[in-house]
């Protein structure tokens, strides 16, 4: 195990030669007192209750919580797939969501879904080129050049540009999805449990890929997960949510240095953060367990 970690860390040290990209100017997200109730006339399911989060441009935020805590609802609101019942969401001072405005998705906030949503009828390259082409932002030649460039930068994905998504491994598919989001120069990248169904080794590799991408093309990232260790390892700030109704229970500031390496998971700082996080979710996990939830953070 130690040997393996050592190998991984020497690789990542190689990658970390590239300095951290400067903090972007755009991508300041404010979620202010947001509540979301489904079926307000009838069953009144309160998915979110009075949630407030502030994310600085270029920050990596992780949201952790048991299933049903409203983390996906929160992401859908930010992405513009759903509206809020109360409160508001602002991106760089501009209103994204209010109770009265209809939800509006946009290419400045692109989501990578947990089950993958690459278009299976398009090749990897066509998938990546889709955004710039439908928005008429680039010509086909420009889009192709940019897509190939990004794919090459993300661990040699240019080699599979002509393949169809079902021919790729799930790790590769997820990376292609991240590239498809990045080509649109989004202000925020929304990742909804992207590594959920992966084994530990693939997950570790994917973490390195994601951290590498974050380092080179720094964006505001909102990362949803139920895996506490993953959240602390990747993020600058972790918010822990409770379920029914979904509220924010605590915020953990992760002051581990970047670049992050897998050995950091053994450091005392990391373990202290983990202990702190476990303490804060323990009560929640117990509640969730008692409710018969199999999955808890």
């Amino acid at each position: 195990m130690t040997a393996k970690l050592h190998v991984l860390s020497s690789e990542t040290n190689g990658e970390s030669q590239a300095a951290m990209a400067p903090r972007p100017k755009e991508g300041h997200l404010s979620i202010e007192n947001v509540s979301k109730t489904y079926d307000p006339e009838g069953a009144r399911v309160v998915a979110l209750h009075n949630c407030s989060v502030e994310i600085a441009p270029g920050d990596f935020l992780a949201i952790v919580g048991p299933s049903g805590c409203g983390k996906s609802t929160l992401m859908n609101i930010i992405a513009g797939f759903d509206n809020v019942t109360e409160g508001r969401v602002l991106l760089d001072g501009q209103l994204l969501a209010t109770p009265t405005s209809p939800p509006k998705p946009g290419s400045d906030r692109v989501v990578v879904f947990q089950n993958g949503a690459l278009f299976p009828w398009k090749t990897v390259l066509e998938n990546v080129m889709y955004g710039p082409l439908v928005q008429h932002k680039m010509t086909r030649a420009e889009a192709e050049e940019r897509a190939m460039d990004l794919l090459a930068k993300c661990g040699g994905l240019d080699k599979v540009a002509a393949s169809y998504p079902p021919q790729l491994s799930s790790g590769m598919q997820r990376r292609v999805e991240i590239v498809r989001a990045l080509i649109n120069e989004p202000k925020i990248l929304l990742l909804d449990e992207p590594f959920r169904a992966m084994d530990t080794v693939s997950k570790t590799t994917m973490h390195q890929h994601l951290l590498q991408m974050y380092r080179t093309c720094r964006k505001t990232i909102v990362f949803i997960t139920h895996d506490l260790e993953e959240a602390i390892y990747l993020a600058d700030k972790v918010i822990v949510m409770t379920s029914r109704p979904g509220t924010i229970k605590s915020t953990i500031i992760v002051n581990l240095p970047r670049p992050r390496t897998p050995e950091m998971m053994l450091s005392t700082d990391y373990l202290a953060l983990k202990a702190q996080a476990i303490a804060s979710v323990h009560e929640e996990a117990k509640k969730a367990f008692e409710r018969g939830e199999r999955e808890h953070a």
Binding site: G106, V111, A117, F119, P120, K122, G131, V134, Y164
Partner: protein, 278 residues
């Protein structure tokens, strides 16, 4: 010197144009020898059962008899080949019409709620009626027998494709919709680039089922109402008690159906390159 060079060039070009028998052989699809063996075994078993006058086989012709009748009376007979043409025409008209009308109707039913509420109950009532139950009405309604048979054939494939496309539209992954919208697609682009490709696999399923049903229906309809086609040929063989003709009719129908399936499979592969290159 010049002449020699020219000769060599001609020789080379001749050599190139002659197809290398080995390579030519390789270009053929790999023969399924097991399938050939099974067909052979079936024919031999059939032949011996007839020779031994096994129960039920007393009035059945042997494959040799059938082959002799076929070669002597049908192979060079234009009437026989016209039966093929007649049946194929009906299948193609009925099948294509079912796709052309059924696919848009399925898309409309899947996407427009008011239209769905208005039209879907009618479809649900008409759908369970077997195509052959349409024969009497169809003969009364359409001015010619030909049109009524095409109509019945069309009915056979139509509801299958409508239901398949309708279900596919309703089951499109919402993530695909959302993503297309957040990547900046307009509603027209979502329709063309997300909805249409999403339902292609179901259209393919509808086509596979549709072509099989179409052959079923056309043969039955020909037996009941027509004076041409492979169904009629088989029926005439029965009525005139010439068993080899019945069997020639049956095998012809089988081969025609198989040919249609090959064409449909090929079309499906072309429609879904992402499925075949897996």
């Amino acid at each position: 010197m010049l002449k020699e060079g020219a000769m060599k060039a001609v020789e080379a070009s001749v050599n190139n144009s002659v197809v290398d028998p080995l390579k030519w052989h390789r270009r053929l699809p790999k023969l399924n020898w097991r399938g050939g063996f099974a067909v052979g075994a079936f024919l031999i078993a059939w032949h011996f059962l007839v020779l031994l006058k096994a129960p039920g086989f007393k009035e059945i012709s042997s494959p040799v008899e059938v082959l002799q009748t076929f070669i002597n009376q049908y192979l060079g007979n234009p009437n026989y080949w016209n039966s093929w043409v007649a049946s194929f025409k009906r299948v193609i008209y009925g099948f294509v019409l079912a796709q052309v009308l059924g696919i848009p109707l399925g898309l409309l039913l899947g996407t427009r709620d008011t239209f769905h509420k208005l039209v879907y109950p009618v479809i649900e009532i008409l759908r369970p009626i077997p195509p052959l139950a349409w024969v009497p009405i169809s003969i009364l309604f359409w001015p010619t027998t030909e049109l009524s048979i095409i109509f019945i054939t069309f009915i056979g494939a139509f509801f299958i494709i409508v239901i398949n496309v309708h279900d596919a539209v309703r089951n499109i992954k919402k993530e695909h919709y959302w993503l297309a919208l957040s990547l900046g697609a307009s509603s027209g682009q979502v329709f063309r680039r997300i909805m249409v490709p999403s339902v292609i696999p179901s259209i393919a399923v509808g086509m596979t089922l549709g072509i099989a049903v179409t052959w079923n229906v056309v043969i039955a309809a020909e037996m009941i109402a027509s004076d041409s086609g492979l169904g009629r040929l088989t029926w005439e063989g029965y009525v005139s008690h010439t068993v080899p003709v019945v069997i020639i009719g049956m095998i012809s129908i089988g081969l025609a159906g198989y040919l249609s399936t090959i064409v449909v499979d090929y079309a499906e592969k072309k429609m879904m390159p992402w499925r075949t290159t897996r």
